[in-house]
Symmetry: D4
Subunit: 252 residues, 8 copies
Amino acid sequence: MDREKLKEMLEAVAAGTMTADAAIDRLRALPFEDIGFAKVDHHRELRQGHPEAIFGAGKTPEQVVQIMARMREKGSNILVTRCPAETVTAVVGAYPNAEHHKAANAITLLATPPQPRPGYIAVVCAGTSDLYVAEEAAVTCEFNGNTVKRVYDVGVAGLHRLLGQHETLTKANAIVVCAGMEGALPSVVGGLVDVPVIAVPTSVGYGANFGGLSALLTMLNSCATGIAVVNIDNGFGAGMLASMINRIAGPH
Amino acid sequence: MDREKLKEMLEAVAAGTMTADAAIDRLRALPFEDIGFAKVDHHRELRQGHPEAIFGAGKTPEQVVQIMARMREKGSNILVTRCPAETVTAVVGAYPNAEHHKAANAITLLATPPQPRPGYIAVVCAGTSDLYVAEEAAVTCEFNGNTVKRVYDVGVAGLHRLLGQHETLTKANAIVVCAGMEGALPSVVGGLVDVPVIAVPTSVGYGANFGGLSALLTMLNSCATGIAVVNIDNGFGAGMLASMINRIAGPH
Amino acid sequence: MDREKLKEMLEAVAAGTMTADAAIDRLRALPFEDIGFAKVDHHRELRQGHPEAIFGAGKTPEQVVQIMARMREKGSNILVTRCPAETVTAVVGAYPNAEHHKAANAITLLATPPQPRPGYIAVVCAGTSDLYVAEEAAVTCEFNGNTVKRVYDVGVAGLHRLLGQHETLTKANAIVVCAGMEGALPSVVGGLVDVPVIAVPTSVGYGANFGGLSALLTMLNSCATGIAVVNIDNGFGAGMLASMINRIAGPH
Amino acid sequence: MDREKLKEMLEAVAAGTMTADAAIDRLRALPFEDIGFAKVDHHRELRQGHPEAIFGAGKTPEQVVQIMARMREKGSNILVTRCPAETVTAVVGAYPNAEHHKAANAITLLATPPQPRPGYIAVVCAGTSDLYVAEEAAVTCEFNGNTVKRVYDVGVAGLHRLLGQHETLTKANAIVVCAGMEGALPSVVGGLVDVPVIAVPTSVGYGANFGGLSALLTMLNSCATGIAVVNIDNGFGAGMLASMINRIAGPH
Amino acid sequence: MDREKLKEMLEAVAAGTMTADAAIDRLRALPFEDIGFAKVDHHRELRQGHPEAIFGAGKTPEQVVQIMARMREKGSNILVTRCPAETVTAVVGAYPNAEHHKAANAITLLATPPQPRPGYIAVVCAGTSDLYVAEEAAVTCEFNGNTVKRVYDVGVAGLHRLLGQHETLTKANAIVVCAGMEGALPSVVGGLVDVPVIAVPTSVGYGANFGGLSALLTMLNSCATGIAVVNIDNGFGAGMLASMINRIAGPH
Amino acid sequence: MDREKLKEMLEAVAAGTMTADAAIDRLRALPFEDIGFAKVDHHRELRQGHPEAIFGAGKTPEQVVQIMARMREKGSNILVTRCPAETVTAVVGAYPNAEHHKAANAITLLATPPQPRPGYIAVVCAGTSDLYVAEEAAVTCEFNGNTVKRVYDVGVAGLHRLLGQHETLTKANAIVVCAGMEGALPSVVGGLVDVPVIAVPTSVGYGANFGGLSALLTMLNSCATGIAVVNIDNGFGAGMLASMINRIAGPH
Amino acid sequence: MDREKLKEMLEAVAAGTMTADAAIDRLRALPFEDIGFAKVDHHRELRQGHPEAIFGAGKTPEQVVQIMARMREKGSNILVTRCPAETVTAVVGAYPNAEHHKAANAITLLATPPQPRPGYIAVVCAGTSDLYVAEEAAVTCEFNGNTVKRVYDVGVAGLHRLLGQHETLTKANAIVVCAGMEGALPSVVGGLVDVPVIAVPTSVGYGANFGGLSALLTMLNSCATGIAVVNIDNGFGAGMLASMINRIAGPH
Amino acid sequence: MDREKLKEMLEAVAAGTMTADAAIDRLRALPFEDIGFAKVDHHRELRQGHPEAIFGAGKTPEQVVQIMARMREKGSNILVTRCPAETVTAVVGAYPNAEHHKAANAITLLATPPQPRPGYIAVVCAGTSDLYVAEEAAVTCEFNGNTVKRVYDVGVAGLHRLLGQHETLTKANAIVVCAGMEGALPSVVGGLVDVPVIAVPTSVGYGANFGGLSALLTMLNSCATGIAVVNIDNGFGAGMLASMINRIAGPH
């Protein structure tokens, strides 16, 4: 298709309906992927009504509201993560249809409901304190049209509860596992299943966990195979990666 | 099936052909997954002739040869990574059919050829020095029956070469990207495709790369979505994760 | 006993009073330890009225109150550590019998008084600023039914005061030593006694103590033998470990 | 007794058979513990024929042989850890009765067989590569007169094997658990038992394990209770701590 | 000239119009550069009406106002960076001509308009959150009399926008590139141009970016040539360096 | 003298005016240094009216006031460092004679004026922001009876000002040099003088100074000889060390 | 020109002498910079006979010789840095015209002598041990056609020697300053001149210099303005940056 | 005196026996300290036959021999530290009078015996493995003309031995204390004496001592007062600092 667009333009030049100079300018102005050398997710998504995400932290409420306005004009579904309280107020005030996912500290604003996908993603977390990261991942997955099965509060101290969810885990197309402290849960889950495990270290803990470093290193050094690590507290990134895997998976 | 096995045993107890005490002992002795609570890859693989991997570093040549002997008895395909020179000599001496993959510094010994899978995995590396990690990933993927397309020597300084391989990248089910130094290549690849990118930081570099820490942090903090990070130099882990994703992917 | 329970069930199957299918379901549902492969502290403690601990930081007051409610139903003794001020207010409001240990920043709520154990545990701290960690350890020990002897304010600069407590130290079954700054006190105590010394680095200090890292490294590298290290500021963990040692110790 | 010795001396002064000046000099010269203020393990051990340990690394073979000579004169049992090859040769040459424990890379030289103690210590390790640390711990325990039960090669990937050893673990008075890589094994063992678990991070691994830092942080941040951490690769320290706990434990 | 001043003084001594003692005292009191051994930027700038910069953070509003007063007496142009809110109020209150650059969080107070220089500096930033650092750099450049072209919001995810600014980049005499997160943008820009790229890591990000460490290491390890790195968030330093390069550049 | 006290006691035993048992008890109770084995600064200082210091941070105002009360009873001069605002209010309220040194954030309360010592200590700081650390050092020196010469605001950018103070520096018995940022000032001062330079890294800076780590490492790696490093921001420690050196120095 | 080439092609399409399909393929195949969106240094340099650099470490001698062969075919001047001894032997054996710069541990092989540039670059180093990094920078500068003035052995301890070279420093267009240990030299040089100072931390030192980290942090935190930092030991990068600055500088 | 020299020169100008131009040139050429602004140790030492030190590591034997040759011409006493084996051979071959201090791994070559100083320095080390650092300090002190009293092998485990040396410690003018592992010895010594304690962390240890970092942090965070820290393994620096303190100390 990109190729088609380019061909069209060149044929217009060939037909004399477009000058060479105009073609050069258009080439320069076109989104990069249109010339076939590269495909930029961002632009393609805009054209396709795909979801857009805004990292809320470090932006003023006004900036967030403005960025959302531009996106809405393009008909995008919008996800805002890490929302400070003022941003939530501002966004919900500006867009009454926006939904605030409190546990995930995220906001979604849908232009069109996401297209549901077959299969599902399991989102697992070790303890109550890791829940906000797990919910960020879960909301991100759902925002992308995936079914999510939540398996919460199944830390190492409650191993039997995890094992009781064995079937839920093995039938998922991807599993997001969030854990703080020593972060051993992904290793244990990875030992039980043979689907990709997306390990999310959380900053939950104190002292020698050094803001999540402990859990991060544990996950990077896991003996289990099939462990994909993302940044500390990066529930959004884990949800996006899981969505991508679930999309390429055929029905089980 | 596991359920079946357990049911059988319980019915044997019910039928009086097995005492309760004997059943307890068998339950204790059975591989864990047989009772349905958990599934341990290792054992399942043994039963199914699946591949086995040995981390060669830190083991004596004798230990490696002995572990391989036990695995061969079970009909496993065997992969040995990180082979010191003496181990290569010892293994190839003991098993003339073993193949030494020099660039990957790995040995494979096949009992049965791996079952080929549809789709393919792209393995990308930035520079000549990262090649050994990329090859470890590639050999691991092939050992698991996957087709691999190698896209080597496409660092940021040769961006056009990477873009020239755009089609190879976008049609893969998973992409392994190995990079040392500043490790920016996975971010760039991740911006061009919408399949999972498995980022492997390598220890290639000097000074403030601190043995690969620099590339590791870059990849963990990537702005691109769909980036799965593994340990520094962990080509094997990246290959296993990519194999898992390619297995769950249906044909494109 | 676990074995007994399992045997009973299997005999019920043998006797025809339980179907194989029902047995499988019960096996799956039973707490893991009941089948003899594993013993999960948490569940056993519930059955035995043993104490339960809640890490208060990072949980909302509501979450803490709810978790306590579930535990009370099972007749557990409850310890809440690291209580934010609002949590204290909420818990004490909900459970008038709850006791707030101010210096330890902990709350206890007893269903039944803990069973007293012979022997005692010494809890030592270097300075006034380390006191809150020492008290968390002491309250945890007492919560588990142990007698605690407090030896406070005996830093290296007051070595003679420590030596004046020599008898108290040598007759303990375990000694918890809390120290910040350079964290040398456990080494000194370890050189004076031959019982296990549980070293708790505290985050007390500034500059190059890097949030307790300095004291932690000191303790891990101690030349003295018999030093067990726990996480920075982890008075609770130290108290639990000391309680475990005191329980396995016979009377002196 | 110390008190007795001091009393004797003071009575000698009182009786006029010793001058005050001489008493002062003797007080100054006496081993510190004799005056009751402090007890120095080292000296007491010498008098009591207790074992002595030498850290072999960083000492020349001649230094080790000489230190051993001084200790032998006092009738001590001697343990040398971390023996470079030349030291082994030199020591075994000098003391034909010395025993070289190859897997532990340690030498023992006994004047009198250690006094056997009731109960036992379990020494657990995750993988083949961690074995040298586990053996250092085991040899240290045995050198102190303890019975050791070895539970080797029971990493997370072989969880059922660990569970198969459940009884061995729960009946021990102390468990030493050695693990490299992500170091999650002590957390898992700690969740299964209620005796002290001495966690020994090993330097086994590569990349982001940073010489054992990863396993160390995991163990320090463990959610399981009763975890005592020692320095990276410190099998000796773990063995000494376990010995101390087993000594204060009464028979089960 | 310095040489002249010194010569003059020595000739005055020779002429008897100045005593040797007075000359010594004057030598000692003179700004260091006057004797020809060294040139101290600070003093020269005072004499030449060159700009002066004050680092506002960590100073009280009173201190800043007083330092500015001394500088104004010497006719300096003044730049205050990192202004806390109270400092802004105090400074603007005291000097109504002072201009507050809100996005840069900086204040300028000009005695004489800076002398415009030929050529220009491009200031590039990856995302909205990096803007405050980029603006600090831009304001610093303008304060030094340079023309600045701003190229904002051109992160890796919007590569085509960066490429659309290609001409702006290649014609600059120096390019300041600010980026947080993984900090890969300077490498990409450095690959596109052959003018010096001044890379400013920002502290924007979370988790494993460790306050900007991730971006800093990325930039230090860049494969691209011509990358000059400054401290995290140091927009001012980048602006000064860029100004220096633009000053020594002849017109293009 | 200590020896005398001990001799007296032993002679009392010899004379029959004290029983051996009583002597033992007294020995145990006596401050450690009295028996000649050790000298504990703290106690000696109490007896000699020497100054006492309290680290104010991390103590409640009540704790500080109480500790001061005990010290006053012994006639000590008292120095409180790192005073939170509430502590200042509480202390000054309780002890109207207490002097609050605002720039040093310290309080002194003198029972007797300190005995003046010959010679002096120079206290140097690089910038305005390092002043609070320099003042903590200066006040500590003066509290110990030393004359202090302050040489402030002489950073590397104002080298000529430092050189203008050359005589003040070379005639000091010890020089305290406080510097943040890159912390190069002690190296420069150390190259100019041949008296001990006590280098105090300050936490002043941002980004890659990592809370003072940068300045600390600079000072530890100084090429200049005679550099003694103390903890980050430890003006008190530097002042105590300088006081000690000035005390052992004879008059110049 | 790029624009011209593209225009030509489009006119060929317009003229019917090239089909749209062929144009698309050519666009895809063309080096990226030809279409005007991006300019890749590497390719442009090949066309212009510009120098090429090979990082010798981590490549086999055969790889280096082969890469050089390909470059020679394109008429490039070649610089090989960080040459292991075997590589030197192999390269000099294969290319007798290659020059081995022993102190810089670098090899140059010139097809055409570099075009000399006006102005010069000063290369400064602190001590004898930093010389290899300084020489790598100097050889790189000369390889790019620049005149280099070497100012060696001018550490802080020999400040007067540095000052003696004041004129050499102030007249340079750029100054490369290499220093290990505490790395303070760039700050001092930066205080003396007003041209860009490229600071190269070296790994020279021991202990708390942590492989050059100390010098790196010092340079990043420098108070002096105009300091550009490169990676530890990166003499090559510093030389390239200095060359770039000297190229854009007009004659003084 | 410097003042005198300068005055002389100015009077010569005044008297017409020297031109102003000649005076300027001489001013520029004179060692920096002669004009009274600064005093450079190095030059003054040359004139006064003071000792010179060469850091042997990282220099070739030829470089060391040549530097020594230049120093000998000026009549300096020479100390070479950290001598690789080849350097020892080369130096002793070139200078038969050179003395190799094996335990300190240092060489001294005296032109004139150092002038003996009153008072003494105590050099203390914890264990046999720290001895090489202690000896480097001791040899450095002696090389500067100081009497040294060695107090070796007095680690925390042998506290009574340290206490037995109490008098030696308290009468010293300065104490150098070398310790690896947890590095607690300086804190203990600092608690016993009131003279400056120069703490030298050694790299002796393993695992979490991270090459001496553990001991370094311990010493920097010491609660004891009067602790001066130098770089890891920097026996030379400690010896120089101690010499400086002993020089300014009057006789006790």
